[in-house]
Amino acid sequence: MGTSSADVSTPARVATTTARPRAEARWRRPLPWAAGALVVLACLGLQTQLYTGQERTVTTIFMFVALAQAWNIIGGFTGYASFGQVVFFGLGGYTTAVVMYHWQWNFWLALVVSGLLAAAFGALIGLPLLRLKGHYFAIATLGVAEGMREVVTNLPDLTGGGAGISIPTVGPGAPTAYLGNDGFYILFLLLAALAVLSAGLVSRSKFGLALRAINQDEAAAGSMGINTTLAKVAAFTLSGFLVGLVGASYAFQQVTIFPERLFDVDITVLMVVMVVIGGSGTVLGPLLGAVALQYLSEYLRQHYTNLHTFILGAIIIVAVILLPQGVVNYAREAARTRDFSLLRNVRRYRL
């Protein structure tokens, strides 16, 4: 049979054929799953130590962990950087608000329906939009989000338009009692766990492998038998479903919602920033990115009230330049190649 590559003495590196341990398939390795469960339990425990102000901050962090992980599925794994993911957030929120306000559905039913509706919308616009690439895809998805905000603003009798809409949460009229801070803490924790779980399962599964192949080279992925159109739309739909669920829960938490808030482009950009700074295409990256960035912006909001976004902007610029591939990817690469220089990182994309 062909001689093994070892004897082809390439000046760069002689392949050593050490006895190779039977590498476990990635998803069988127990460590990540155990760690995940442990973290969830820790968060439950943490809840008892926090008082209201802190609890609401941590709840928001859970929300952004879920949003960042959802964006990671389409932007990180598949490499289609959507700048309109907030459309699913708004859709989820308004579906819940409308069905609870007009038809008194209970929240849990509304939650599931909102997620499915957002997913359906994702599949609907995914088919045409995922044919676009690069800037064009980013701007088209941004256009969809901005367009949807205008549509919602112009349907006052259904959505309350600019004046907003309120979900009945108190008294006889309330289909589901308000969950309160503790309730939403657990709800968003579960949503965050669901998003991380989905990303973890996707990343280790056959589907995740297909998405990564598409991200690296769509033509090559096609000729390996991957139906690239189907895989891309599925990733976009799954991401839409998760963001829809989070939007629905956010609407219930806020009680009164407005189009500018539910379709705010900053929400999408925050998702992108968290994934990019954390480490696009990894599971740990968006998790760390969301926790770090959301905690940081809370801290800045409290201590530097009017300088808050100014400093956040500066941090985004520095992070994009110093760590374009994100903390987790940088750490993994550095560990493997023993090269910790940030300078090489900066020089990588320079003209």
Partner: protein
Amino acid sequence: MSEGGAAPETPVLDVRGLGRRFGGLQALADVSFTVPRGRTLGIIGPNGAGKSTFINLVTGHIRPTSGRVLIDGRDMTGARPWSVARAGVARTFQIVKPFRGMTVRENVAVGILYGPEGTGIMSHALTAADEVLEQVGLGALADRPPGELTVADARRLELAKALALRPRLLLLDEVMAGLRHREIEPSLALISSLKKQGMTIIAVEHVMKAILAISDEVLVLHRGRVLTSGEPDAVLSDPRVIEAYLGHRYVKRQRAVSRDA
């Protein structure tokens, strides 16, 4: 090109009047031939002759503007790349395209998971991927990121990814390009072993030594048309082929030199 006496078994690949036009440029025009089971067809031609266009038309990466492509008798003209792959046609890429962010083993597992006999179970695919890697001599590098492979190993990975689809037809797009002398020998041995296993192969190549070693028949493309085809030795000494490669005056001078000698 069908076998002499044997019943005319449907060819693995049957191309009829295949053509592709990009705006004013006719990149490929009226290309017709068939490749019976188990045979190896070498395709040669100078740069810009339309070789890569031909492969991309067969694999569905670009849609033909004329002609038909039949695989095992089924009309796959203009089919999407993944349906062509699932019909048992695998290809390597001229510009090596490993999937970064995955290990060498996972690169191969993609083919096993999504090929004709796609198994859903990840661990089965990973084990099968190890077997294919052993077959091409990359067993030792299974856990490596593909970015660290040498040119020769990266070409082997391309081959392994194609074999992972358990193909009936293998399209090799310049698998030998850029290999140093010592690296060509093992690749040739690998391809001949595939031939022995009855694999039908189309090899687009510039390295003539490889074409001669593995081709049962050679087809010459020049400026998007079939210049000639036939036995390897006959084709390579055909003056029109030499002219296509070395320039028309070279042939005239050679003829003059041989006349004086």
